[in-house]
């Protein structure tokens, strides 16, 4: 109806290569960004921002990073939690040890720590792939668990091994209120997402995808597998590292290694698979599915039960949540194995050809 591209002609290559070639998309995305930056901080409650939107934004960023590696380059990784942990502890050490260290460079340097770590544990990818690589990256996870629990230097010799940060500031502005934290995370996410989108559309992204689809063929046409795989590991772990630093600094405030356990690695992988492998949009959908849905179910189920006059205990909710969650995952994977992003694009395609599909 409204979603039609008739009459939108592209006369330059630039116009043809835009991220959003359709005018309606561009308008929608600008409107969405404006709403997210301007309207939400004023309207959303403290709880909505602190407990739902901030985790959603940070996990979207992490999922974006995982998607670069798993979705675009086809290197299955179970070490995402470790990359987050390295980002978090790296940023923490830089932030605390260097007096007067500003927050943003600390976060980025934390991301660079994760990059180094990612490249190191990406080296096996040059030899092994698929399930074997997944197991090799699992080593990264266990290594980081061990490292941050045992090597006291990383936690500044705190007796309990739990660390915390406070007095966060960006350009002299305190990042304490829910709105400021939300806007900060959103800004980081948008910047990273735009960069990633352009990266995967460019030559590097094509190399990654070629490697993913068939590495031998890619090597034959002149793509260096080592270069492509390690760059994917580097970019991906940088993004995941920054997400980890945000998770620790902005969301938790104080954390222990258990906050970045193997559980988190699995959840990140689920996010990417459910959201859609090899899709920027999919990362957001996946994060929303894994982060927001349980919280929503948690709030909606008691209300629903209340409507029929039943009372549901927290245990009941938690079990129902697990069952519904598992059911939904299975259902999604059967109905659309390419994830929510594919459902979205199918929907869009249907709208474009509506009402006369061909």
């Amino acid at each position: 109806m409204f979603y039609r591209e008739n009459g939108q002609f592209k006369t330059t290559y630039r116009a043809d290569q835009q991220v959003f070639p359709i005018l309606q998309d561009r308008v929608a995305i600008w409107a969405l960004l404006a709403a997210a930056f301007v309207v939400v901080p004023f309207l959303a409650s403290d709880y909505l921002m602190r407990a739902i939107l901030i985790p959603f934004l940070i996990m979207s960023l992490a999922a974006l990073g995982v998607n670069v590696l798993v979705g675009y380059c086809g290197q299955i990784s179970l070490g995402s939690g470790a990359f987050m942990a390295v980002g978090a502890y790296g940023a923490y050490n830089i932030f605390v040890r260097i007096p007067g260290m500003p927050l943003v460079p600390a976060l980025l340097l934390g991301g660079l720590c994760a990059t180094a770590f990612g490249i190191l544990f990406g080296l096996p990818s040059l030899r092994v792939k698929g399930l074997y690589l997944a197991v090799a990256t699992l080593a990264a996870q266990f290594f980081s668990d061990w490292m941050f629990l045992r090597i006291k230097w990383f936690t500044l010799d705190t007796p309990s091994g739990s660390v915390s940060v406070s007095n966060l500031q960006v350009f002299g502005l305190p990042v304490e209120s829910a709105a400021s934290r939300y806007v900060f995370c959103l800004a980081v996410l948008v910047a990273m997402a735009v960069l990633t989108k352009n990266l995967v559309r460019g030559a590097i992204g094509r190399e990654w995808m070629a490697i993913r689809d068939m590495d031998v063929a890619a090597a034959v046409i002149g793509i260096r597998p080592m270069h492509a795989k390690l760059s994917a590991f580097a970019v991906s772990s940088f993004i995941i590292g920054v997400a980890g630093a945000l998770w620790a600094f902005v969301y938790l405030g104080a954390w222990e290694p258990a906050a970045f356990s193997v559980d988190l690695s699995f959840r990140l992988l689920f996010m990417v698979i459910i959201g859609g492998l090899g899709s920027i949009m999919g990362s957001f959908f996946g994060a929303a599915f894994i982060i927001v849905l349980p919280v929503v179910l948690n709030q909606v189920l008691p209300a629903l039960a209340g409507l029929v006059g039943a009372e549901i205990s927290t245990v009941g909710i938690s079990h129902a949540e697990l069952m519904l969650f598992g059911g939904l995952i299975v259902w999604f994977l059967i109905v659309e194995p390419h994830g929510l992003a594919r459902l979205w694009s199918t929907g869009k395609q249907k709208l474009r050809t509506w009402p006369f599909p061909y």
Partner: protein
């Protein structure tokens, strides 16, 4: 929004506003874990906690102010705990106090509470240095911390050996859950080991603690004179079974209070006979007046939470005592800021800081014999450092020691220095005496 929904919403709003005007209420969020790996220990605690709040309402509230509460399931996950905290902190006029029930969550919420002005009550757990109220204005580890637990265990062992000086040359192993929770006692034990010359071996166990073969192999090789067990959930029963398999005498094992309740030993049964654990004041108290009240006023009317048989067990009592201390904080606040009024977080913080639970008050609450009198102050947020040791006889927990008090000489400097380190990291200025009056 169309006109009808608008009317309905307005009407609803008026009704709720009216309800609020009629009865003063005090909101208590309940963060608990009834699912996940630690549910066997988390559920009885939550039952006790909720039952106590219900009992307060049955008894007519705090000077007429009824308690309102809502439970939120954390699954012992820090991120989920933070979500629960954020969800509940502003509900129903704001949370009175919050009890995070996990060391990880305590650390995270400690950073948030001063901003939100909500006291964090951690009865027997949390961060030990937060006993220093001049630095940790909003934390209340009332009635003991892990350092108190560790210190009194060493004292109990010393008594068994016939004097602390007899510990020289002895080997003591700490089998601990590899997390901030498990690491809490280490600084104190190191201090004690320096003082008495015993050798401290640290044996970490990876969470959740089902895999302990390697640890107990080390125990078999080292043959320590005593083993301290700092685990919880499935880790405890596994450790006891491993001890049985290794042939390590259970009489020489001392657990922290999270490792000293019925769920930990029930499955091991006779195999755990002789195993000791520190009881942070109370143990299993089925004979106490409070338990009788709960059975008569709640369970008899089908209002109770959880199974009736578990009322009065160790963790149930812990939950109840935790709730009681929080509620008494509100009562103390009311005595200063106006009886029968709803208190805000700042006022309750004052109340918790000026708790004076005398024996007479405890008797009135039904806690006679369960615990000793406690009084807190601005500087001392812990109030008391008394424990007892109880021993599993194969069927029930029985007290096997007299009251033990943690050594102030050791505890105080450690609390002071660790808190000072925290203050310098956070660039906090410790509170002045003038600030204490507020």
């Amino acid at each position: 929004m169309n006109l009808r929904t608008l009317t309905v919403a307005t009407a609803l709003g008026l009704v709720t506003a009216g309800a609020f005007a009629q009865a003063k209420q005090q909101f208590v969020p309940v963060l608990s874990y009834r699912t996940g790996a630690y549910a066997p220990n988390g559920a009885p605690w939550a039952n006790g906690y909720v039952d106590y709040l219900k009992l307060v309402n049955e008894r007519g509230g705090i000077n007429g102010v009824k308690l309102q509460f809502e439970e939120c399931e954390t699954g012992y996950d820090t991120a989920r705990s933070v979500e629960c905290y954020e969800r509940l902190k502003d509900k129903n006029g704001g949370a009175s106090f919050v009890q995070p029930l996990s060391t990880g969550a305590t650390f995270a919420i400690t950073e948030k509470a001063p901003v939100d002005k909500i006291p964090v009550v951690t009865v027997g757990y949390g961060r030990s240095e937060s006993a220093d109220g001049t630095v940790f204005k909003w934390n209340f580890p009332i009635a003991g911390t892990y350092w108190v637990a560790a210190d009194t265990i060493i004292q109990a062992i010393g008594k068994k050996e016939g004097g602390l000086d007899k510990l020289r040359g002895k080997k003591i192993a700490l089998v601990y859950h590899d997390s901030p929770y498990g690491k809490e006692p280490i600084p104190l034990l190191q201090e004690r080991s320096r003082m008495h010359g015993f050798e401290l071996t640290l044996l970490p166990v990876t969470a959740p603690g089902v895999e302990q073969k390697a640890t107990w192999l080390q125990v078999r090789q080292n043959r320590p004179d005593y083993v301290l067990l700092w685990g919880w959930g499935v880790m405890n029963s596994t450790a006891l079974k491993e001890a049985q398999a290794t042939g390590y005498p259970r009489e020489k094992m001392y657990g922290v209070w999270w490792a000293g309740a019925e769920p930990d030993v029930k499955d091991v049964g006779e195999g755990a006979k002789g195993y000791n654990a520190v009881a942070m004041q109370h143990g299993a108290e089925p004979q106490s007046q409070f338990v009788k009240d709960v059975l008569a006023k709640l369970h008899a009317k089908n209002l109770g939470t959880g199974p009736k048989e578990e009322v009065g067990q160790v963790l149930y009592m812990r939950g109840a005592m935790s709730a009681m201390l929080g509620v008494e904080g509100v009562r103390a606040a009311q005595e200063r800021f106006g009886k029968g009024k709803t208190m805000n977080g700042e006022q309750i913080r004052w109340g918790l800081e000026n708790l004076n639970l005398t024996q007479a008050k405890l008797d009135a609450l039904g806690f006679a014999g369960v615990m000793r009198p406690i009084s807190t102050s601005c500087v001392d947020h812990m109030g008391a450092a008394w424990t007892r040791i109880h021993t599993w006889d194969g069927k029930a927990w029985k007290f096997s020691s007299d009251w033990l008090q943690a050594d102030e000489q050791i505890l105080k400097p450690l609390v002071k220095s660790t808190a000072a380190k925290y203050a310098s990291e956070k660039k906090l200025t410790p509170r002045t005496p003038a600030d204490c009056q507020s």
